[in-house]
């Protein structure tokens, strides 16, 4: 029997959730024997596989690229888990929502530019008007709030999922945890 295929995805987040994921330390080895990591910023795969069993998605949807990616991921994933507050609520990336994306660009590419202040027209995807949590775009199967969710939380949730149990998320973590 082939092992279940797990992906982790990094959208608009600080990668803190991935760091916390790595903080499982030696327990990663134990869990890792039960699944194949088929796509992740932590490993060197360039394309999202045709079929993934479980995807852990970090980060909010902030740009047209994020939006495109999340639809693609949803299409090729059986069980989608929103990992961390950015994916669940919008969190810190969504702090710009009350005033929109232009002041952000102004700050990043003009006020803080040391040379040639200009708005990038290539390579940088267009920002969405508002930063939104994943579930406003696609169906999400499980929510794991926390900024970031602790390594213990990751361990319990993944162990439960691998064992076919439904973890009691609210007892493990909360917004801002």
């Amino acid at each position: 029997m082939s092992k279940i295929k797990v992906a982790t995805v990094w959208l608009d987040g600080c990668s803190g959730c991935h760091m916390s994921f790595l903080d499982m330390d030696e327990r990663l080895l134990e869990l890792g024997s039960q699944f194949d990591l088929v796509f992740s910023p932590l490993v060197d795969f360039k394309t999202y596989p045709e079929s993934v069993d479980v995807a852990l998605v970090e980060g909010a949807i902030s740009s047209v690229e994020d939006e495109h990616k999340i639809h693609h991921i949803r299409k090729h994933t059986k069980f989608l888990l929103a990992m961390g507050d950015c994916a669940v609520t919008g969190n810190v990336p969504a702090l710009r929502n009350p005033f929109g994306p232009l002041p952000v660009l102004q700050r990043a590419y003009y006020e803080n530019a040391s040379a040639q202040p200009q708005t990038p027209t290539t390579f940088v995807p267009a920002l969405l008007d508002k930063v939104r949590p994943i579930h406003e775009f696609v169906k999400v199967d499980m929510y794991l709030p926390g900024c970031p969710p602790s390594a213990d939380t990751f361990y319990t949730v993944l162990s439960d999922l691998l064992a076919g149990r439904t973890p009691d998320i609210a007892s493990l973590t909360r917004f801002g945890a």
Binding site: V88, T89, G90, V92, P133, V140, R174, F175, A177
Partner: protein, 237 residues
């Protein structure tokens, strides 16, 4: 001479309890270690029945009643938890999270916030409602305190403690509906208001809306339970 007060017996979540006739269902439930969630209620302040989290079911009545103002009655049967109530409570909390810019991760009250822990208690893992992201201005004009309307849930605890306990009535609400806003005096900067700097409002604020400038990061525990003690001291008991 102490006037005789009627005693009533009633059933809360299947448990037989007794109560003085002037008690509310919330008071009696708490005496019996039955937890009914509340955000606007605070011991020592008048009840306003605004947050609707303490709604309970009464047998024989189609209407839900807020436990904080529901007076006990002989033989009444109260249910404090049901799937329906849980759904309503979760939705009300979702409404609060969607209304303003509550970003727990960067909030000074993170870990000491009643809204945050209430969400966890009620099993809320995400907010189905779209975030409204209003543009609100932080008032840091006070030398000791900060008011951040992004984190305000309009429970009016500060309004009540300032008017009823401190007697200053600096805080009140202006506007209405979704445009309601907590203001000092007649919408002056807090620092220029008639604030007595007693800090009671900061202590009773359930979230990070009113905070102490000297507290940093998430080192901001609050002690809203001081009010009954203060009242006892004032009465010389």
């Amino acid at each position: 001479m102490i006037a005789a007060v009627d005693v009533k017996t009633l059933v809360i979540d299947g448990i037989n309890v007794s109560a003085r006739a002037d008690q509310t269902v919330l008071e009696v439930a708490r005496e019996n270690n039955i937890n009914i969630p509340t955000l606007c209620h605070l011991d020592g302040l008048t009840d306003v029945g605004a947050c609707r989290l303490c709604l309970v079911e009464t047998k024989g009545s189609p209407k839900l009643n807020p436990a904080c103002v529901l007076k006990v009655e002989e033989g009444m049967e109260i249910t404090t938890t049901s799937d329906r109530l849980k759904h309503y409570r979760q939705t009300i909390l979702e409404m609060l999270f969607s209304e303003r810019n509550h970003v727990c991760a960067v909030c000074v009250a993170n870990g000491h916030c009643e809204l945050q822990s209430m969400a966890q208690d009620q099993g809320l893992t995400h907010v189905r409602l779209p975030y409204m992201n209003p543009k609100l201005v932080v008032d840091a004009s006070h030398e000791r305190f900060v008011s951040d309307p992004n984190r305000c849930i309009l429970c009016q605890r500060c309004v009540r403690v300032c008017a009823e306990v401190e007697g200053a009535h600096v805080w009140d609400i202006m506007g209405r509906g979704i445009g309601s806003l907590l203001i000092a005096d007649l919408h002056q900067p807090w620092g220029e208001s008639s604030c007595t700097r007693c800090g009671k409002c900061v202590q009773v604020c359930p979230t990070g809306a009113l905070t102490d400038k000297s507290k940093l990061g998430s080192d901001h525990p609050k002690y809203p339970e001081f009010l009954p003690n203060l009242e006892a001291m004032r009465e010389g008991r």
